[in-house]
Point group: C2
Chain length 464, copies 2
C-alpha cells in the first residue's frame, strides 16, 4: 500500500510523540550533517528527520513508525563509513546510535564483553585492556568509529592478517527487526551450532536486515605477545609485493603487513617533515608478536626475506616508541593525502600472490586516466586501498577518478579478487558487487531481504 510522502514537519511532529525532543534533529542544517557518511562521492539525500536513539526500544519505536508511514530507516554509528552504507535516502529517517555508548557487561573470566552499538572501538579497547583483555579488530578509524558500524560493515584493520576481522569476534547481538521486534541472536559461549548463524548473516549486512543495538564480543588475553617491527624500503612497489609473497610462502603470519607507497610517503613527509627517505618507491611494514626467542627468530626471518626480495634497507625495532616511529607513515598516510583533495577510497582484496600484479595495474590505471593514485595496503591480506585524489572543485578530474575506480574494480575481479575487503558495499561498490555475485546470488540476497524486511524499509538499495 503506497503512502503519500510525508513532509519533514509532520514527521518531526509524529516522532516527538515517540522520543524526547532532545533526541530529535529536525533543523535542515543538522539533518544535513547526517545525510552521508565519509563517502560523499556517493548519492545522498537530506533525511526527513534524525533520531538520536538511546535504547533498543527507541530504535524499535522509530522502525515501527517508519513501517507505518512508508519511510525507510538508515541506521548510523559515527558516520565514518567509506562506501556510503549510511548515506541517507529519499524519504528516510536516520537513526543514529551514537548515544548508545554503554558497556553493558565485561566478563573477564569468560573473555566476553557486551557493548552497545554506539561504543567507540577505541573506548572498547581501552575498557577491556584495563582488565587484561584485547579486542583485536582495528580499522584505521578505530579512534572514531563505533562497534555498531564496525559490525554493520564487517570492518577489518591492520592486525586482521593474523587475528581476523570483526565477524570473527561477534558471538551474539541484539537486533531490532523490520517490524520493530527486538530479538537476541547468537550466544555467549565459546562454541555453538544451534540453528542458522543469523549473527554472521547480520554482520556486514549494513543495516538492511535489522539494526544492531548491542553486540556480544569475544576477547583475547592482552598479554603473551611481544611486538617487533621489521620495515623494509623498496625501489619498486612490485619488489615490496614480491617480499609479501615470500613472507606468505615461508609460512610466516605477521601480526601486521602493510605497504605504503611513494606518493603516501611524500605526502606525509611534506606535511610533517619527518625526513622520510626519498629513494624508496614503497615501504613494507611488518610486525610479528610471538614472544621470546621464537619472536626474535620470526622477526629475523622476515628481515632476511625482505633483504632477499631486494630491499634497499631493512630496519628492526622492538621498543614501542621505535615501532610507533616506523609505523608513523602508515598512520598518517590517509590524513596526509586528504590534504591534497577529496579522496575516493578503494577497498579491493585480491589473492596475496596477485598483489604485485594488482599494484602494477593500479599504476597503469593512474596513468591511463590521468589521476593521482596513492596506495596503502593491508598487503598480507591482499587488501589494497588505492586512494584516488581529485583536486577540490575539478569536476573533470572527479569524473576521471570515478572511471579509474571502476577500472580498478574490474582488474581486481580479473585477478580473482573481491570488490570490497573491509569497507562494505554501501552504494559505491554496488555495480561491482552485483557483477561479482551474479544474478542468482543477488536473487538470494533479495529473497532473504524480502523474508526479513518485507516492506523494504531498512536501508533499501544498499549492500547488494
Amino acid at each position: 500500500m503506497p503512502v503519500d510522502p510525508l513532509d519533514a514537519e509532520s514527521v518531526a511532529a509524529a516522532l516527538r510523540r515517540i522520543v524526547r525532543s532532545d533526541q530529535l534533529l529536525s533543523d535542515p542544517a543538522l539533518r544535513d550533517e547526517y545525510a552521508h557518511d565519509d563517502a560523499e562521492w556517493a548519492d545522498f539525500h537530506r533525511p526527513l528527520a534524525v533520531v538520536l536513539a538511546e535504547s533498543a526500544d527507541d530504535v524499535a519505536a522509530v522502525v515501527r513508525f517508519a513501517a507505518g508511514a512508508g519511510l525507510s530507516v538508515v541506521a548510523r554509528g559515527a558516520g565514518t563509513g567509506l562506501s556510503g552504507g549510511a548515506n541517507a535516502l529519499a524519504n528516510s529517517l536516520v537513526v543514529s546510535l551514537e548515544r548508545m555508548t554503554r558497556i553493558l557487561e565485561l566478563d573477564v573470566a569468560e573473555r566476553v564483553v557486551v557493548a552497545e552499538a554506539g561504543v567507540i572501538n577505541d573506548d572498547l579497547r581501552q575498557a577491556v585492556a584495563a582488565e587484561g583483555l584485547w579486542y583485536p579488530p582495528d580499522p584505521a578509524s578505530y579512534r572514531i568509529s563505533t562497534i555498531g558500524g564496525n559490525v554493520a560493515t564487517n570492518a577489518g584493520g591492520i592486525c586482521c592478517v593474523k587475528y581476523g576481522v570483526t565477524r570473527d569476534y561477534v558471538l551474539g547481538m541484539t537486533v531490532v527487526l523490520a517490524d520493530g521486534a527486538i530479538v537476541h541472536l547468537g550466544r555467549r559461549t565459546a562454541k555453538g551450532a544451534t540453528g542458522y548463524d543469523l549473527t554472521a548473516l547480520m554482520v556486514g549486512s549494513e543495516g538492511t536486515l535489522g539494526i544492531v543495538t548491542d553486540v556480544t564480543l569475544k576477547l583475547l588475553p592482552l598479554g603473551g605477545r611481544e611486538d617487533r617491527a621489521i620495515v623494509g624500503s623498496f625501489s619498486s612497489l612490485e619488489a615490496a609485493g614480491v617480499a609479501v609473497a615470500a613472507i606468505g610462502a615461508a609460512g610466516v603470519i605477521p601480526s601486521a603487513l602493510e605497504i605504503v607507497d611513494e606518493m603516501c610517503l611524500r605526502a606525509v613527509d611534506e606535511w610533517q617533515s619527518l625526513g622520510l627517505p626519498h629513494d624508496a618507491a614503497a615501504v613494507l611494514l611488518a610486525t610479528v608478536d610471538e614472544p621470546g626467542d621464537s619472536g626474535a627468530a620470526v622477526a629475523a626471518s622476515v628481515a632476511v626475506l625482505m633483504t632477499d626480495a631486494g630491499a634497499l634497507r631493512v630496519e628492526q625495532a622492538a621498543a614501542p616508541d621505535e615501532i610507533e616511529r616506523l609505523f608513523l607513515a602508515r598512520r598518517l598516510a590517509y590524513p596526509a593525502l586528504e590534504r591534497l583533495g577529496p579522496v575516493l577510497t578503494e577497498d579491493i582484496c585480491v589473492p596475496r600472490s596477485a598483489v604485485p600484479e594488482m599494484l602494477a595495474r593500479i599504476r597503469d590505471t593512474a596513468a591511463a586516466h590521468d589521476v593521482v593514485i596513492a596506495t596503502i595496503a593491508h598487503a598480507g591480506d591482499g587488501n589494497l586501498h588505492p586512494l584516488i585524489i581529485a583536486p577540490e572543485g575539478d569536476e573533470a578530474a572527479k569524473a576521471r577518478a570515478k572511471e579509474a575506480f571502476d577500472r580498478i574494480v574490474d582488474d581486481c575481479r580479473a585477478l580473482g579478487g573481491t570488490v570490497t575487503g573491509e569497507h562494505g558495499v554501501g552504494l559505491l561498490k554496488l555495480p561491482g558487487a552485483r557483477r561479482e555475485l551474479g544474478e542468482r546470488v543477488v536473487g538470494m540476497h533479495r529473497d532473504i531481504k524480502a523474508a526479513l524486511d518485507p516492506l523494504g524499509i531498512l536501508n533499501p538499495g544498499k549492500a547488494f
Copy 2:
C-alpha cells in the same frame, strides 16, 4: 500443488533416467544403510532411493526431480553425525556425496584448498600437510567424516579451543539450491565484505538451505608450532573444572583442554588394560603449542595452575609418542563406552566458568534418572559431551536416558549455555533449540528457509 506419493519402484525408474544405475541404490536393505546417521535414537525412515552423486550436476538433477515429484532430499556425507541431521524422512531421497572425493585445487602460496564435499577430513589434512599446510578443525570423527558433513554441522574438535571451528575456515563453497541452480558463494581472498555472508549462513544449516558440493577452505602453515602436553589427575570432576577456570583466567589459551571422567577412564582401562590410575575421578589433558622458550614457559604455568587447583599428579611430555600415550584415554573413550551399550551423545556448551557447576549437575542427573553417564569434554570451550549409556535392549533404561538428556539440556540453558556446541541440532536437539531460540527467532529461520526453499524439499524439519 500436492503430488501423489510415489513408490520406491517408480522413483527408481525415474532416477535411472537421471543418473547411471551404479549411482542408484534401490534395494531396501541398501536403502536402510542410508536411513540414519549415527543418531539412531532419533526418528528415521527408509528413503525411497539413495543416489550416489558424483558431481554438482548430479545433485542438481536429483533436486530438480524431487522438486517436481514432491519429495524431500536429505544430503549425507559419511553418516557420522550425532544429531540425526542426515536421518532420512518419509518420502525422501538420500543424496550421498561420499563419491565426491576430489581435491580440486591446492594453492600453497595462498594457503587455500578447494575440496569436494565427500573428501574425508583426514584425507584433506594429509593432502595439505604434504605441502606444509594445516587444516585445524579436528572433530573426533576426523578419520571417517567428510568435509561436507563437517560444514553442514559446523563441526568442532579438540584444537578448536585455540584455532576455531569449521566455520572459521570456510571461505566459499559451491551449493545446489532448492530449484537445482548451482551457485558459488563466498570468495577465496583472505578478507571480503561483499554482500551478505551467505557462506556463513550455509555453514551449520544441515542441508536445509542448499546442498554444499565443494568448499574453499583457508589453511594455516603446518610448521611453527611445538606441542607440549600437560596432564593432571584430579580427585573430583569439580577440581578439574576449577583448573579449567584458572587456566582461562590466567590468559592462557591452550591448543587442547580436555576432560575425561572416571567412567571413561575405567571403560578404556577395562578394554585396553592400559594400567590407568584408579584414584582419579577426572583427568585434565592440555596441550600448548607455542614454540621455543615461550612454549616451555606456558606449559610450566599450566602445570602450576593444575597443581594449585589440587591435582593429584601432573605429568608433562614433549615427545610426540609420549603425548600420544597421555591422550590415549581421550581418544579411546568413545569407542570404549560404545562397548557398554548404545550411547546417547550430548553436546552442550556452557560458559567456561559454569563447567564445574554443569559437571555437578550432570552427576546429579545420572543419579536422579538412574542412568550411566560418562563425560568427555572440550573443557576449554565449555563444550561438554555427557555420554548416556543404556544397556542394549533395555527399553526402560532408554526412556530414562532420554529424560536425562532433556534435563541436561535444561540445565545447560539455565547456566547460560547453548544446546549444541558442535554436533548440530538435527532432530535430537530440536525441542531444546526451539526453546533457546524463541518463537520470533525460529520465525526468522522459517522465513529464511521459505525464501531459499519455498517448496520445503531440502531436509525439512531439521536444524530449527
